[in-house]
Amino acid sequence: MSSLCRNVIILLVDDDAGHRHLVKRSLKRLQVASEVIEFEHGLALLEYLAESRKSATPMAERYVILLDIRMPKMSGVEVLQELKSDPVLDPIPVIMVTTTDDPLEMRRCHELGCCRYVTKPVDSDEFAKVLQDLGRFLSDNIFPPTQ
């Protein structure tokens, strides 16, 4: 799994430094060796992506976005909307990682085109489970083993 994910960069968007830290630690413990770039809010992410559009490598092969919903300035849903309305950014897999378990919100994100929706469980065991799940998801769905 780790080798498959090595080339992909995880873009972690969360206004809470603690959450980012926890996600990074858990990823490390789960041996996801991908580089992680942190963003405090959605605007920073969009700026970064605007810059990296110039690169020749297709977006979907370079990035996975972990996106929080409740953030200042621009909510995760708005960021998702922005991403999905841009044909270049649209292929990047987006996984919503959030405290919101509101079914309406979930449905909305799925309608907008997010790949997955995971609620931030406060239970650390479950958190690990979700991340493990996430790792499996990354390797299976987005980066299928290439022969």
């Binding site: 809470d16 603690g18 959450h19 926890l22 630690r25 409740r70 405290t99 919101t100 378990d101 509101d102 931030k120 406060v122 239970d123 650390s124 958190f127």
Partner: protein, 532 residues
Amino acid sequence: MGDLFVFSAGHGWDDAHVWTHVLVDLFIWLAFAAVALALAFVLWKRPAMKHRSLYCLLMGLILLSGVTHLLEALSYWWPGYQILVVMKVLAGLAFLIVVMVGMTRVLPQIAGSSAKGALPKEAVLGLDVEEQLARANLFRTAMRHAPIGQAIVGLDGAWISVNEKLCEVFGYREDELLQKDFQQLTHPDDLDADLALLERTLAGEIDEYSMEKRYFNRAGEIVYALLSVVLIRRDDKPQYFISQIVDITPQRELLMQQDSLIRELEQKSNELQQIIYVVSHDLRSPLVNIIGFSTELEATLKELDQRLCDSNPAQWAVNGIWGDDLPEMLHFIHESARRMDRLLKGLLQYSRLGRYEITAQHLDMNRLMGDLVEDFAFQLKEVDARITLGELDNCCGDLTLVTQLFGNLIDNAIKYRSTERPLEIRVSSEVVGSRIRYVVADNGLGIKPKFQEKVFEVFHRLHPDLTEGDGLGLSICYLVARRMRGDIMIDPEPDVGAKFYVELPLDLQTYAKPQLLINSMSLAQPLHSANE
């Protein structure tokens, strides 16, 4: 003249006498004829007059009497005594008939009927002029002093006649008001609607109409009024409108006050929902950190402990700080954070329920409960519980919410089961008025009467030591039951365990008209309702 002289010589009349008699007789004849003519005119104008024949007879009598005087006058020149006698006899007979019929039969009738006062409608036409005038007067007085505004309005909208109340409502003197038409006083936004109805009335589509509309009074203030209009026609031709105008400004103002209060409440409630939603989310965020890092700390501590122990086992073994104190403290942090998380989740769920949009539909309850039991199959098997479903009546409600309600009740039964006996849950139903009452009974710990009031309160937990409940299960049941226009109650003294009664509307009709629901509370006194 010679004839006349011979004829009258025997009586010894002189010329002056004769001429006086002739002139007076002629005058009397003319007077009688005029009276008879007047009576004939009245009879011709009012064909519906009662006792018509009597009046005709009277007319004849007057005419005959007149003619006798004419003949008397002529007798000086033309002595037609035989005819005069015949005329006098006829007149006498006519008098006799009039007196007999008129005085003995008709007069008591007229006197009697007017004494009774209340006449059948068709008899009104037969009333004598005086009586009719009195009645018209009475009616005019009634209209003038009526406690609601009344007016006769011309086809062009001008006020033809207005009563005192209407003047009071609009703040104008009567003569001022009569200078205006209703269009001038009507609020421009309501004028078109009124005129449209007026047109339809004139066109004969409708006979009358009522509407709520706004006028302006003299001070330029808005007067809210309930207007009722009827068009009077004569021979199918529109004559005028009769309008009744009830001033409903005080009621309207009260209604508007209520409306603004309701809006304010709605806004407050929305704000509250929003606050609960935002706060519970934002509070969960730091919790993720507290639990995440306390877990990390625990892991780090274990690792550190292991390493120190490896390097110098003798020294670390006696130091209780690493081994006991720190993990214990971390455990408390961890557990408290988890409890807080549960509460916040519950709060979120509760607030979501308040914002949830209901879709009321007919519910197949046997199927709903069957599905629910299937969902709980694992948990029920785990505690070796048995659930018995009776033949259930169907009701009306929102599928998701009603499922949640009964799910919470089953969940509750599982949580608060007795350790002394395997859990048994029985679900049955009965029709109570226009509601279906579902009975969910278990053989668990039960709820003591003094706590029964508390169980529907938000976050109230009876057995905080027993289970990991969030204290919201029954509050949500209560909220759902109320939102379904039903009710939830606890049997105060079941034989064993707890017994809940859930009442839901029988069908969509009773759901749509909750005021039709017969409140079973009045039928079954001892039940404790969440409604109290």
